[in-house]
Symmetry: C2
Subunit: 165 residues, 2 copies
DNA sequence: CAATATAATGAATTATATTCTACACTAACG
DNA sequence: CGTTAGTGTAGAATATAATTCATTATATTG
């Protein structure tokens, strides 16, 4: 439980808002946008990275372009004790598994998997999932169409915070 | 149904592999890594963007740093006809809703929502979800802990494709 | 108010992005 | 065969940007 100090001001929020939308925006552009010097932006970003406010920069690739058209959610019931994450880690180690969430209620996990097609999903379950002994049962939900898929956070707006008037 | 030509070669894959992990890698670094000229990399990346192989560059921000510690999945049953996405689009328009998937089986949607806490979730459901008349019912699953949360795709390795020997 | 810490500016330097030309390779075609 | 597009890369030149650093501001604290 290493709690860090995340004291962010409006400038940080503004930077995060710009970078969340476009990770490849230049420091110079951010600086222009915010009316600051590029060197100041650089310092800010470095600190945001150090403090782990910014976790990583990712390129979102079109799954269709790589022939990965199938998305599924799988509920997995496991024999883990409470707080035990062995099964979760084993699942997380599978590359096709994009998300693993320990969920309340069913002593189980919700897992998001992306594969080429249903055959690849079946194969994945037979080859990879079946090798995790603590898995008791699975229930698979197929995604027909994805309407939205983002990880964008809602960043508070404190632009006009007017601490005096 | 606008199908595009996604013909990608090993160089494209190599670029995508590097950029998927670090969207802010410089073209110069990619060029060094692949033993090519930076201008060639630039050309490739431009084309990948044009052809919508690369969709966007995103900065992943630590949700905890923004006080958004609650993650939930909500199953939503809707009165949409088959193929109708009105409800889905209404859901997608809510900023706290990160994902909306039309799922098979239950004429419903699976929605991923990130909020500050359970109070904010309740508020969101009362204020935003309740305003979508086509929603018949909801079932909420709370995430206790997230073990993995990525959108990284598995990029095929064709490095040594040896078309002759 | 002085002392300390924090953060921004602006100039200088280094590195990168971008543009453009020339050249190599390929496939299609007369 | 040789020609012609078409495509993609290298490499030089130029425009931008990143980075460093000394200096100047801005807060914070005792």
């Amino acid at each position: 439980m290493n709690k860090i100090d995340y004291s962010l001001d409006q400038t940080d929020y503004a930077i995060l808002r710009l970078m969340q939308e476009n990770a490849r925006i230049s420091n110079a552009d951010i600086a222009r946008e915010l009316g600051m010097a590029p060197s100041a932006i650089l310092e800010r970003i470095k600190k945001l990275e150090q403090r782990e406010v910014i976790l990583q920069y990712r390129t979102k690739i079109n799954p269709v372009a790589l022939g990965q058209t199938m998305l599924s959610f799988i509920f997995i019931r496991a024999a883990d004790g409470i707080g035990c994450v062995t099964t979760g880690q084993a699942l997380a180690a599978i590359p096709e598994v994009q998300e693993v969430h320990d969920i309340a209620g069913d002593d189980g996990y919700l897992v998001k998997v992306r594969t080429a097609d249903s055959a690849a999903l079946v194969e994945l379950m037979r080859n990879s999932f079946a090798k995790i002994p603590s898995i008791i049962s699975t229930r698979t939900t197929i995604v027909l169409e994805t309407v939205k898929e983002e990880q964008q956070l809602v960043i508070p707006e404190l632009e006009e915070q007017g601490r005096k008037e």
